[in-house]
């Protein structure tokens, strides 16, 4: 009844095969049998799977576009979100409706795209009437397979206002207060989280003194923020004309200069550890003939996603200089865009190693 050859496939060969499957397939195959269900949560298997995944996928193959737009409901004004995911195999966009990172005033959610789970983070004891969150950043440590969230609060103690920092770890499902941070030396911009890249969080901020715009860098596990200046004579003060993104395994700063139709987009890359003078200008994109494009992120290698002032999303290839329009169904008319590169992971959001 059963062809004996199939049942002869040794376990380790089967596991090797499974470790080459896309995450979507693994999610689906959880219910094949109990052994497979348990196997997919085994850290050794997950490490093997991740190593295959990394070998065959460039990090920026997939992008989330979060379009936030105002709506009114029963007379209340709300910020609403629509999430789109762009993936490498086609340039069409599908609407998933599950926010990966959703900031709701002081509450915070993480969601796993492939696993379609989301989790509301527990409130920390910083939450009170006299505090509000200034900045939040989400990061992932692939070595410990753990999500971390960094949050900085502005706290009014009654006597003075100060900034406080705490870190949330998914593996412990709790917040830890950090006491030695230097968050008093600078201010954060609105909607300031830029990027998590190679173990470092990046935010947009201002120097306390001259209010010049800087990039704030925080390494995972550290409490001290480092200030990274823009390259000389480069203006990064306008949120609509700047972006920090990963490009070819390096940190890149994309910023606009010039006016109107003479606008050009400059791409700088950070070589080295982040000392001020290590920005190198890689490319300058001119004659785009787009009015005030907002740079987003790189994806698919050399493609740069841009938002035009008309709210359309375009993809510009910095090598071939070709522009592609990306059609988004049901795109809200007035919106602001945030784009995030992502890699689909099996990591369960519910915490711990259990997939339930």
């Amino acid at each position: 009844m059963v062809s004996e050859s199939n049942s002869n496939l040794p376990q380790e060969l089967l596991e090797d095969i499974l470790s080459r499957l896309p995450y979507k397939s693994l999610s689906r195959f959880k219910c094949v049998c109990k052994f497979w269900y348990t196997l997919f949560t085994d850290p050794i298997f997950r490490a093997l799977h991740l190593s295959h995944f990394i070998k065959h996928h460039a990090f920026n193959d997939s992008v989330f576009l979060r379009l936030s737009f105002p709506t009114t409901s029963y007379g209340f004004y709300m910020q609403n979100y629509k999430l789109f995911s762009l993936s490498n195999n086609d340039s069409s966009i599908d609407d998933t409706f599950l926010p990966r990172v959703k900031l709701l005033s002081t509450k915070f959610r993480i969601s796993g795209h492939s696993t379609r789970e989301f989790k509301c983070l527990p409130d920390s004891n910083m939450l009170s009437k006299s505090s509000f969150a200034l900045a939040v950043g989400l990061g992932y440590n692939s070595i410990t397979d753990d999500y971390k969230v960094v949050r900085i609060w502005s706290v009014d103690t009654g006597v003075y206002t100060t900034n406080r920092m705490e870190v949330y770890s998914l593996s412990t499902d709790s917040w830890t207060r950090m006491y030695n941070s230097n968050t008093r030396d600078f201010d954060f911009a609105d909607d300031c989280f830029a990027l998590f890249f190679k173990g470092t969080y990046y935010w947009w901020g201002f120097r306390r003194g001259d209010k010049s715009t800087i990039i704030l860098a925080l390494r995972t596990g550290d409490e001290i923020f480092h200030k990274v200046s823009a390259p000389d004579n480069v203006d990064i003060s306008k949120p609509e004309g700047r972006s920090l993104a990963e490009w070819k395994e390096s940190l890149s700063l994309i910023c606009c200069s010039g006016f109107g139709l003479n606008m050009s987009i400059d791409i700088w890359v950070m070589k080295g550890s982040g000392a001020q003078d290590s920005w190198t200008k890689m490319q300058s994109v001119t004659s785009l003939l787009l009015e005030e494009p907002k740079p987003l992120v790189f994806w698919k290698g050399d493609e740069l996603l841009l938002e035009t002032c008309g709210g359309e999303i375009k993809s510009y290839n910095v090598v071939t200089q070709k522009i592609k329009n990306l059609k988004i169904e049901d795109r809200p008319v007035l919106h602001s865009v945030q784009a995030v590169n992502y890699a689909a992971t099996l990591a369960s959001i519910k915490g711990g190693t259990c997939l339930t």
Partner: protein
């Protein structure tokens, strides 16, 4: 003092004998170990768990890849993109077998003989073959039983939105 070996003979589990050039045999780590060990003088290598049908395929793979390596070396260094592309295309065609069973046997043979390229190729081919299948089809292919209880199935379906069919 042994004269340099230029060919070796491998014997399938069915008893059939096949000649392989040394270059082709070197694609297999196992055969390579035997060939480079001076204390062993081999003429015939029995590969007990590989049938004739599969062995023929394996030898074909080894020979093709050995030839490719030799050609690359002759051209002084790295393979050009088009040559690599051509080899990939050959590999893809090579893996088009009519029965899934054959794929598994090739995989096991590559594992036994330690032919890394063929092993990776076969694993990936199987992975690509099964990635779109339903759990039911997967169970059939790998002869697995659905050992979840009905309650567990219900709970999982609800929580993970996955289908057991």
């Amino acid at each position: 003092m042994s004269s340099p070996v230029e060919q070796i003979t491998v014997v399938s589990s069915d008893g059939d004998e096949f000649k392989m050039t040394v270059a082709a045999a070197m694609q297999s780590e196992q055969l390579k170990q035997m060939l480079t060990d001076d204390s062993i003088s081999i003429v015939k290598v029995p590969v007990e768990n590989i049938s004739t049908e599969i062995l023929v395929k394996v030898i074909e793979y080894c020979q093709k890849h050995a030839d490719h390596e030799a050609a690359t070396k002759a051209n002084g260094g790295g393979a050009s993109d088009s040559e690599a592309e051509e080899l990939n295309k050959w590999d893809a065609e090579f893996m088009k077998v009519d029965v899934e069973d054959k794929l598994f046997h090739i995989l096991m043979a590559a594992n036994y003989l330690e032919i890394k390229g063929l092993f990776d190729l076969a694993c990936q081919t199987v992975a690509d073959l099964i990635k779109g299948k339903t759990p039911k089809q997967i169970r059939k292919i790998f002869n697995l039983k659905n050992d979840f209880t009905p309650e567990e199935q219900e709970r999982l379906s609800r929580q993970h939105n996955c289908s057991f069919d």
